[in-house]
Structure formats: C-alpha cells, structure tokens
C-alpha cells in the first residue's frame, strides 16, 4: 500500500516534470516563431516603399521634363503618381501605419503628403494631354519638399521597429531564463522524489526483512518447543516400551500355567490390561512417530474390505461388550491410498466413536462422493455428539470431551490428533458433522483406484500350518535382561530351542562353539558399539550363509527403520505382540525351508 502510494507520487511527478518541460519548450518555439513572423511583417517596408515611390515619381517627372510633349513619359508619371497616392492612402489604414499614428513624424509626413497630393491633383488627377515645363518644375519642387518628412518617417519607423524587435528578443531571453530555471527546478524535484522513493523502498525492504527475521525466529522457537515435546514423547515411549514389552511376553507365557478358574480369570484380566496398555502405547508411538515426521506416505491400490475386516476383528468384541452395534458395510471398492495411514485413521475414528457412544450403533461405510474420482469414507455414531464450538478443538492433542478428570480408561485423547496428522499426510481433511446429543459423523475423501491399477486381491493364506517353530534353534540377542528372559520364555513355550546373548561378543562366542541358530532375533540397540543389524551381518558372515533374522526396536527413528530395511531385515516395534511375532517367525522359517 505504501509502496504503491510512492510509486504513484513518483510517476505523477515525472509526468508533471516532463509535461512542464514540454509546455515550456512549446511556448519557446511559439515565441520565437511569433518573433520571426513579426520580423517579416516589417513596419519599415511600407514606409520605405513610400519613399521609394516618391523617388520613382521624381524620376518619371524628370523624364517628362527631358522629353516634353511625348505621351509615354507622361503616362508613366501619371501612373507613378497614382501609385504614390494609393500608398499614402494605404498607410493610413494599415496596421503598421497605426503603430506609427501616435508618432509626430507620421502626422507631419501625412500632412505634407496631403498638401502635395492636393497641389498635384490639379494637374495629374486625370491623364493630361500635356504638361508645361513650368508645371513639371513646380511638381518636382513640391515633391522634393515632401522628401524630408517622408525620410524622417522612414527613419522613425526603423527606430520603432528596432525597439520592437529588441523588446521581442528581450522577452524571448527572459522567457528562456525562466524556462531554464523552471526546467532545472522540475528536474531537481524529480530527482528528489526519486531519491525519496528509493530510500523509502529500501527502508520498507529493510523493515520487511527484519519482520521476516523475527517471524523466522518465532517459528524456530515454536519448532524447538515442538521438537522438545516430541523428543520427550519419543523418549518416554521408548522407556515405557521395554517393560511393556516384557510384561506382555510374561503374561502370555503365564496363560498355559493358570489351571484354576480363578487364576485363569486373573491371567485373562492381566492380559486384557496389558493389551490396553499396549494399545495406548501404540497410540503414543504413532503420535511421536508422526510428530518426528518420519512417516513416508506409500500410496498403493488398496481394497477397502480387508481394512474393514481388521476393524471388525479389532473392535467387534469391544462394541459387543459395551452393548453397541458395530456395523461395517461390506464394500467392493478399491482405493488409492496408504493402507497403513488409512487403517490408522479408521481404527482411531472407530475407537473414538465407540468410546463416546453409550447406546445405539457405530456405522462405518464407503459412499460415492460428489468430487469425481473420490469416494467418501464415513464413520457415524449415535453418541454424545460434539458441540460446534468444539469441532476444531477435538483434533488437538490430549483434548478430551467430557473428561475433565482425565480418566485413563477413556484413553489419552490422542486418537483424533493422530487422525488429523494422518489425514494431513494423505492430503484429505477429515470433516466433522455433529451437535451435542445428536451423534457425530466423521467423513473424509479417498481417491478411488482406477480399474487399470487394480490388482487381484492377495489370497489370504488359509492353509493350516503345522507348527514349524517347534524344534527351531533361536538366538535371542538383547541387552535388557528382563526383555531377553521374557522373549526366551515365550519362544520356549512355543517349543523352540532358545539360546540368549546379551551382546555381540557373547553371540559370536556362542556361534563359534558350533551351535548355529536357525533364527536370530536381535534388539536393535545393544550394548557396545554394534547394533542389531551389524551383529546379524557379522553372524551371517561367520556362518557363510543367510540365517533368518529379525530386529526388534523401541526406536521409532526413521534412520533405524531405513537401516534395518536396507539390510533386508524385518523390523518389529516394541512392545511386540506374541501373535505377531509368532506369525513372523513362521514366515521366516517357511522361507528358509523353501
């Protein structure tokens, strides 16, 4: 706004200056032209012609005197006389004559001319047949008397003309001086304005830069705060992971030992509690992982139905326990999205819906969308609803509706925040439609997969598997004794032969004794400098073959993920669910035997 104002001012001043100079130039040319025009319309000419004509008449009269009685000189004298008369008459009407009217010489000369004409008209008013020598003599004399006043008039006219020309040139000179001064003033003004504008521009720019620096500083501060928070979250989750991991493994081992109904009930409860805790931890990890911005979006062609199936199996029992109906409409649709993020969104939305619904049902459906190329995923509940003023807030971290006591059983309040982060990664906002007491509807758009990119759904492996794990030699490397013991116990309960090592050296020593494992499970971060990936590499090199192996890690670092994946190994995040681990190990063994 300020800049444009100064631009206008400068443009206006430049225009003013240019037009001013132009106007002066025009006026100057005008003046000079006028002066030269007037110079041509010269006073002197008319008066000089009068004197010349008088001389012509005298010449003609002398000719008459020289050739008395001849008609041609007489006619010539008659003509010259009449021309003279016409000129005298003309001088009295002309503009140039009027300029001289107030001069005394003009009056004198005109009076003398009238006297001469009065005297001469007696003889030359009409062409005479002849003129006597005496008359010619008298005419010559009177014409001679007319000469001095006419001559004085001519000189006077010359003087007047000279003065007029001088005045004219003086005026031009004065005008030129004015013009020069004004033009230089305008130019100086223009330069001043230009300088001011430039200075102002640079000032504005400097201020702009300062503002930008301040903004950047503030942003950096905010980012630092956010980073500190996510670091804390990451550290906390990492620390919590180890005991949770061990606890889960221990409890799952406990199950076959509990024979009595009461003990079995207790174990089941403990198991459920552990599962709950692990789910919450998962949420925390998800959050810290999303915060660390290490998540990469991998768009694939995904069938919705398997995702829905996972939702059913994850929450069917929870819903039934709460007396709610969880309806997930079967859908044949394929979409183009990141299945992990998509599932995470759906899981969190459904979990959220179930948490805030006391009666009625939760509906998950895929519907056609008004936006071409997209389908709309919808999670609807008949719960307590959300007041419109809270529609923004619910997506904030740790915000919970109607939970001022922060009752842990209601979760941590991260679900919708995770949903929002995931949906941002997928570039599609989650929309909420709700009012208090009217339930809630969360919708978001997903690009539908085109037919060409569709793949045949992978046949779920349904073949019953013999328990390949029984009798397998497994080497567990973990520097955490609790975790190591828990994992070893679990593997033993699956019928594996387990050997455990606390660090790389112990593992190498174990192998050098000639006991080669069929499987290696290593923690990523172990004591000493080497990490799990390197230890596995070293063992494989020592064995001279590729031993099946996987890495367990509590770090949600992108670097770790990348390192493990680039080594061609499978990464399991702590806390590891026994069922998942078992499935993975089976797969590895199967691959090995093929």
């Amino acid at each position: 706004m300020k800049i444009s104002f100064y631009w206008w001012v400068s443009a206006l001043s430049v225009m003013l200056a240019v037009s001013g100079i132009g106007w002066f130039q025009y006026r100057q040319i005008d003046q000079v032209t006028l002066a030269s025009e007037r110079g041509r319309d010269n006073l002197i000419w008319d008066f000089y012609k009068l004197e010349l004509q008088l001389a012509n008449l005298q010449l003609a009269l002398r000719e008459v005197q020289a050739q008395p009685g001849k008609p041609a000189p007489l006619a010539e004298a008659f003509n010259q006389y009449n021309i003279l008369v016409s000129q005298v008459q003309l001088l009295q009407t002309l503009n140039s004559g009027q300029v001289m009217h107030e001069h005394e010489s003009f009056a004198t000369a005109m009076a003398a001319a009238r006297l001469f004409i009065d005297a001469t008209d007696v003889h030359l008013a009409a062409l005479p047949n002849a003129l006597t020598g005496l008359v010619v003599q008298r005419l010559l004399q009177s014409s001679q008397q007319l000469r001095p006043p006419v001559h004085r008039l001519v000189l006077d006219a010359y003087l007047v003309e000279n003065q007029r020309a001088n005045a004219q040139f003086k005026e031009i000179r004065r005008f030129t001086v004015y013009y020069g001064l004004t033009a230089s003033f305008l130019i100086v003004l223009m330069l001043c304005v230009g300088w001011l504008v430039l200075r102002n521009l640079s000032l504005t720019e400097r201020r702009h830069l300062e503002q930008r620096d301040q903004l950047r500083e503030k942003k950096e501060q905010a980012e630092a705060v956010a980073l500190a928070k996510s670091r804390f979250l990451s550290a906390a989750s990492h620390d919590l992971r180890q005991p949770a991991h061990a606890l889960g493994l221990f409890v799952s081992q406990l199950t076959p030992w509990a024979q009595e109904p009461q003990a079995r009930h207790l174990v089941a409860c403990a198991n459920a509690a552990v599962l709950d805790m692990q789910n919450m931890l998962d949420g925390l990890f998800d959050l810290s992982r999303l915060e660390a911005a290490t998540t990469q979006v991998r768009i694939k062609t995904v069938a919705l139905e398997p995702l829905f199936e996972q939702l059913r199996s994850a929450y069917g029992e929870v819903a039934a326990a709460k007396g709610l109906r969880l309806r997930i409409r079967p859908s044949p649709i394929w979409v183009s999205s990141d299945p992990v993020l998509l599932l995470r969104i759906l899981l969190n939305l459904v979990s959220n819906a179930l948490r805030y619904t006391d009666q009625g049902c939760v509906l998950v459906a895929c519907r056609p969308s008004r936006t071409p190329g997209f389908v709309r995923l919808e999670v609807r509940d008949s719960g307590i609803g959300i007041a419109p003023e809270n529609h923004e807030k619910i997506f904030q971290e740790f915000h919970q509706v109607d939970n001022p006591q922060r009752d842990r059983s209601k979760g941590l309040g991260m679900g919708l925040n995770i949903v929002q982060r995931c949906s941002r990664l997928l570039d599609q906002p989650v929309r909420v439609q709700s009012a208090l007491g009217c339930g809630a509807r969360f919708t978001f758009l997903v690009p539908s997969a085109s037919l060409q990119t569709m793949q045949a759904p992978v046949e779920a492996q349904t073949e019953p598997v013999a328990d390949e794990l029984a009798g397998q030699c497994v080497l567990v490397i973990d520097d955490d004794p609790l975790g190591r013991e828990a994992l070893a116990g679990l593997l033993l309960s699956w019928g594996c032969k387990v050997s455990a090592a606390s660090d790389a050296q112990a593992a190498l020593a174990h192998c050098q004794r000639g006991v080669w494992p069929d499987l290696i499970i290593s923690d990523f971060r172990i004591a000493q400098a080497q990490n799990g990936v390197e230890v596995i590499g070293a063992l494989r090199a020592l064995a001279g073959r590729s031993i099946a192996a996987c890495v367990i890690s509590g770090d949600n670092d992108a670097l770790v993920t990348q390192q493990v994946q680039s080594a061609g190994l499978v990464l399991l995040a702590k806390p590891v669910r026994p069922a998942k681990l078992r499935g993975l190990l089976r797969n590895l063994v199967r691959q090995q035997s093929h």
């Binding site: 003509n79 021309i83 016409s86 003309l90 009407t93």
Partner: protein, 173 residues
C-alpha cells in the same frame, strides 16, 4: 406540350455541349485590344495577340467569365465584393502550360504563385470592387484577390504576399 418540352430539353442539351466547347473555341481566337492595355501575359502560353504576348484591355477582361468574391482582406477592415475574371479563366484563355506564374505590379513588386494555388483557391483578378471599377489609386486597375474568408489557413504572410495589386504583367513559367 410534350413535344415543346422535348424540344426545350434538346436545346438545353445543345447549349450544354456548346458551353463545354465554347471556352475552347474562345481560347483559339484571342481578339486584339481596342482600349489601353491593362494586363500583359507572356511566357509558356499558346495564345498570342501581340508578338509573343497576350495583352488585354478592360473590355477583354470583362468579357472573360466573371466571378464575384466576397471577402475581407488583410488590408481593409470591411467585407468587400471583388469581381472580375478568375485567374484560372485568364490562364485558360491564353492557353497556359506552365507550373508557376510570376505576377509583377506597376511599382515593380513581384510575387511567384504556384499553379496549385490557382486550382485550390481560385483567386480572382478583380477589376471592380463593390461595383466600382478599380483605378491605380484604388490599387487597380487589376488586383489579385484570394478568398481569405473561405480558407482561414491562407490568412498568413505567404498568401498576402501573393495578393498583388496594381497587377501589370503575368509571366507563365
């Protein structure tokens, strides 16, 4: 009635044709002046009546197609009526073939006029002003007059210089 109208129509046609031919025929025969000569034309002309020149007396000028020009002039204050043959008619009468004409006056004033002026402004060789015949005293007997009121752009020094009075001689160049 019809036949009379037809005859009248035929006659008017004949007159029209005659009027188209007449100037030609007049140009072919240039009479000798009977009164005192007021205007001499010389140079690139095909019609002569005195040696290499064409001379005119007042009656011969009056006999040419006469034209009236009502205008102000740079010299007089009143609107005046100038009548006389147009310069075009005179040049036609003498069979002029030139590009410019030089006008000279009794007092030896001279001005050069391009032929373009003649076609564009059609100046008049006035021999009467407001009905009165011009004399040398009233800047006659022949005075060139441009239509100053009809062409505002010619009210400049250049054209007032070409407006020669007391015209005596025309040289076609």
């Amino acid at each position: 009635m019809k036949s009379i109208r037809l005859i009248l129509g035929q006659w008017s046609l004949v007159l029209l044709v005659l009027s188209l031919i007449m100037p030609e025929s007049r140009a072919q025969v240039l009479a000798k002046p009977k009164g005192p000569v007021v205007l001499t034309v010389s140079g690139q002309i095909s019609q002569h009546n005195l040696g290499n020149t064409a001379v005119f007396d007042a009656a011969m000028l009056q006999a040419l197609p006469v034209q009236e020009l009502i205008t102000r002039t740079p010299w007089e204050k009143n609107v005046m009526t100038f009548s006389g043959p147009s310069l075009k008619a005179l040049l036609h009468a003498v069979g002029s073939r030139g590009k410019t004409i030089r006008l000279s006056a009794l007092d030896n004033y001279e001005a050069s006029v391009p032929m373009d002026d003649v076609t564009r402004f059609d100046p008049v060789l006035a021999i009467r002003v407001d009905g009165k015949p011009l004399t040398i005293r009233s800047r006659g007997p022949v005075r060139v007059m441009y239509p100053f009121d009809h062409f505002p752009e010619i009210n400049i020094e250049l054209y007032s210089g070409r407006t020669v009075w007391q015209l005596q001689h025309i040289v076609v160049e």
